[in-house]
């Protein structure tokens, strides 16, 4: 649950941007919403009933999946067990992924976080940031993966990056929507990241404008290309492992991600030819049947067909490499999850004696011994070549 905003002395220099801060100046700071493209509005802002995770699970459970998966049951847990994964336990903890908040300058149609400019309440405060750093130290993880929302909009973002990348010499990933780098207070970030060796992982669903703007809002493509040019100018995307630029593509509709290597060649060739822009790697991810993408599937009457497609493509070879097995997911309020998708579904991590552990209680041993929670949405990560925060899993 949200902690009280007990500001530390160091906190004085930070503007509290929409953290739970009754009576503070958080609300005042957000009177001007961040500029950015809009493909839709947040479900939360529309008070859509589907905002409730329970409703989303109901929709997934109601789908009639015939002869689906290896057991034909359409139950993820049974397909896991059939593939020899019972119990379903983690591997080594390598990555701490922190979702620093739901605030974003964009409102993409497929967003599983239901992020947007109106999500000003859910932003990690400084105390929780400090608790995350303690958990990172205990975890032994080599990588800190920052996501959101637009993580750069959290007032403690740069402090957190500095503490991880410089003070602790860890690999830091910024999951960036690109357009934020073109907004005034964030234009320095490409150079700033380059000085700290931060890997920038950016969303660009397509190498042409049509599909990119359809998913992420009119004007996204142009701004994204400008941001990629800024990153190239800062030394990113040129094969330097200290300045790694990774693009992420996910389908602009109800189909699965294509072959990652093949798409990477297409993206590289087309972006170089059309814009003179370069990058290092492309990750192809599936869309998860939840939140705004689920809402879109419902509008199209394609929930069952899409789920069937995911389940038919169930690939047991992806299970060992699933991100939930090597990643600890932390929410803006410090609660812990097996992955960012479970996080958005309020599907808490459970370990021995604790049904909803908080990052301040992080215990590596309890994590190592806990059983990962799964449900039908998990078929999104095991379909085809697999899909996770690190891209395709089973590349033959």
């Amino acid at each position: 649950m949200p902690l009280d905003d007990a500001a530390t002395p160091d906190d004085a220099g930070f503007i509290e941007l929409g953290t739970v801060d009754p009576g503070g100046d958080g609300a005042a700071a957000m009177t001007e919403p961040p500029e950015g493209p809009r493909a839709t509005t947040s479900m939360s802002g529309r008070r859509a009933p589907l905002t409730a995770p329970k409703k989303q699970f109901d929709v997934l459970d109601a789908a009639d999946l015939e002869n689906a998966g290896s057991t034909g049951t359409g139950h993820f847990r049974e397909d896991l067990a059939d593939a020899g994964w019972d119990p379903f336990t983690p591997a080594e903890l390598e990555i701490v992924q922190i979702n620093v908040g739901k605030l974003c300058n964009m409102t993409c149609k497929h967003c599983h976080v239901d992020s947007g400019p109106d999500r000003t309440e859910e932003n990690m405060d400084r105390q929780t940031v400090e608790q995350c750093l303690d958990a990172i130290d205990e975890s032994g993880a080599h990588t800190v993966d920052l996501t959101g929302g637009a993580p750069e909009l959290n007032p403690h973002f740069e402090y957190l990056v500095e503490q991880c990348a410089v003070e602790r010499d860890l690999h830091v990933i910024d999951r960036c929507n690109l357009t934020i780098l073109t907004t005034r207070p964030h234009e320095h970030l490409p150079e700033w990241f380059a000085e700290r060796g931060v890997e920038v992982v950016c969303s660009l669903p397509h190498y042409r404008q049509l599909n990119t703007d359809a998913q992420r809002g009119a004007g996204t493509y142009e701004k994204s290309i400008r941001a990629l040019e800024m990153l190239n100018d800062a030394g990113y995307g040129k094969g330097d492992p200290e300045r790694k630029l990774t693009l992420v593509t996910n389908p602009t509709g109800a189909y699965l991600a294509g072959d990652q290597d093949s798409l990477e060649r297409e993206w590289k060739e087309a972006l170089a030819r059309n814009h003179g822009v370069t990058f290092d790697a492309l990750m192809a991810l599936n869309n998860m049947p939840m939140s705004r993408f689920l809402e879109w599937l419902m509008e199209k009457g394609q929930v069952e067909e899409y789920l069937q497609r995911l389940v038919n493509a169930f690939n047991p070879a992806t299970i060992a490499g699933l991100m939930c097995r090597n990643t600890l997911s932390v929410a803006w309020d410090g609660s812990l999850y097996d992955c960012d998708f479970n996080q958005q579904l309020d599907f808490d991590m459970q370990w021995d004696g604790n049904d909803a552990p908080h990052v301040s209680e992080f215990d590596l041993r309890a994590w190592q011994e806990h059983s990962i929670r799964t449900h039908r949405h998990c078929y999104g990560c095991t379909a085809g070549a697999g899909s996770g925060c690190g891209g395709a899993i089973d590349e033959e």
Partner: protein
Amino acid sequence: MPDNAYYDPEHLDQFEDITEGSPELGEKFFDYYGEVFEDGALTAREKALIALAVSHVVQCPYCIDVYTDASLEKGADLEQMTEAVHVATAIRGGASLVHGVQMMEQVKEKMM
């Protein structure tokens, strides 16, 4: 789906059953088919777009379904796919029109 319809969408899922009558030829066909669409001198996306165009020429509804999805999955967008269908249309239309020269010649022989 009426009982007497010529096209049944279910037949697409049952395509591989065609091996029943001749397993050897069926398997050869499907192995070949799979290999044709791998990345080669042409990319998988380019091949999917060619297949999409040809699907429209042979007017195969199964193929149109499959290669619409395949084109999207391999990274094509609506503009590229529509251009591919126009290429098919241009060749198909042109193939009719170029026969007009035969018509013209005959007319010129027969008319005063």
